[in-house]
């Protein structure tokens, strides 16, 4: 980019679409992790994972029982990531509002 050139940014891009998709995935993952935690003590339970490619729950590949602490940590991380998406969407909306109102309220 030559100096002095202003980058063209289209505020009507697919940010909303992408963030909404990311939030949906995080919500689904939250459900699956909660399910694993709920069934810690259930005999014969096979833990699940969320496969982003397939977009659904699949049985976890590597064996071994569910470790409660790991599952809770994953749940927390998922929740923090979701919060990040919320912040990004909020920023986007605020930017659009600033543009739409030309900085005036």
């Amino acid at each position: 980019m030559a100096s002095g050139e202003v980058p063209r940014v289209n505020i009507f891009d697919n940010t909303f679409e992408n963030l909404h998709q990311a939030m949906s995935i995080a919500t689904k993952r939250q459900e699956i992790l909660s399910h694993n935690i709920a069934n810690i003590d259930t005999p014969g339970f096979e833990p699940l994972d969320f496969d982003e490619v397939l977009g659904k729950a699949v049985k976890r590949a590597q064996g071994g029982p569910v470790v409660l602490e790991e599952e809770l940590a994953a749940l927390t991380e998922n929740s923090v990531r979701y919060s990040a998406y919320v912040k990004l969407i909020s920023s986007k909306i605020n930017v659009m509002r600033a543009v739409a109102t030309q900085g005036r309220r």
């Binding site: 949906s24 939250q30 459900e31 992790l33 399910h35 935690i37 709920a38 699940l48 809770l72 979701y82």
Partner: protein, 142 residues
């Protein structure tokens, strides 16, 4: 599919564990009961947990809450471990040879089960609170 589903899952586990703790309390309370409602000494009760499947094929299953994820207590069964017999001919419930059958409840086993159940109970409450934060964050979108 929404955040509500994760709540339902955690709540199902909270309920199941709470029921387990009630059963353990009943076992401990009856550790000396030589007369149960069915006659004979009290039999230790054990909850049977089963996974409630996440997905469902029919709307009817969902309406009847047969799916939706989480866990449920499908049965409460009697432990078939034989009763302990103590020689005490003076006891009103002694049999012809003077033996009294005592409930098959072990204090130490029940206490270990109780500690474990309450740990899992708390873990699911923690999971519920984490999901609650996600839901609250969503409301912050301007």
């Amino acid at each position: 599919m929404s955040i509500d589903d994760a709540f339902d899952i955690s709540v199902s586990a909270i309920n199941a564990k709470r029921l387990q703790m009630e059963i353990i309390s009943s076992n401990l309370a009856n550790i000396d009961s030589t007369r149960s409602v069915d006659g004979g000494p009290y039999s230790r009760r054990v909850p049977i947990f089963a996974e409630r499947p996440l997905s469902f094929d029919e709307e009817l299953d969902r309406a009847q809450k047969k799916a939706g994820g989480g866990v449920e207590v499908v049965a409460v069964v009697e432990d078939k471990t034989p009763f302990q017999k103590i020689y005490n001919p003076g006891h009103p419930d002694a049999d012809d040879e003077g033996f009294v059958s005592l409930p098959n409840v072990s204090m130490s086993k029940e206490m270990v089960d109780l500690v474990y159940a309450s740990k899992i109970y708390e873990a699911n409450i923690t999971a519920f609170n984490i999901t609650k934060k996600m839901a609250q964050d969503t409301l912050q979108i301007p």
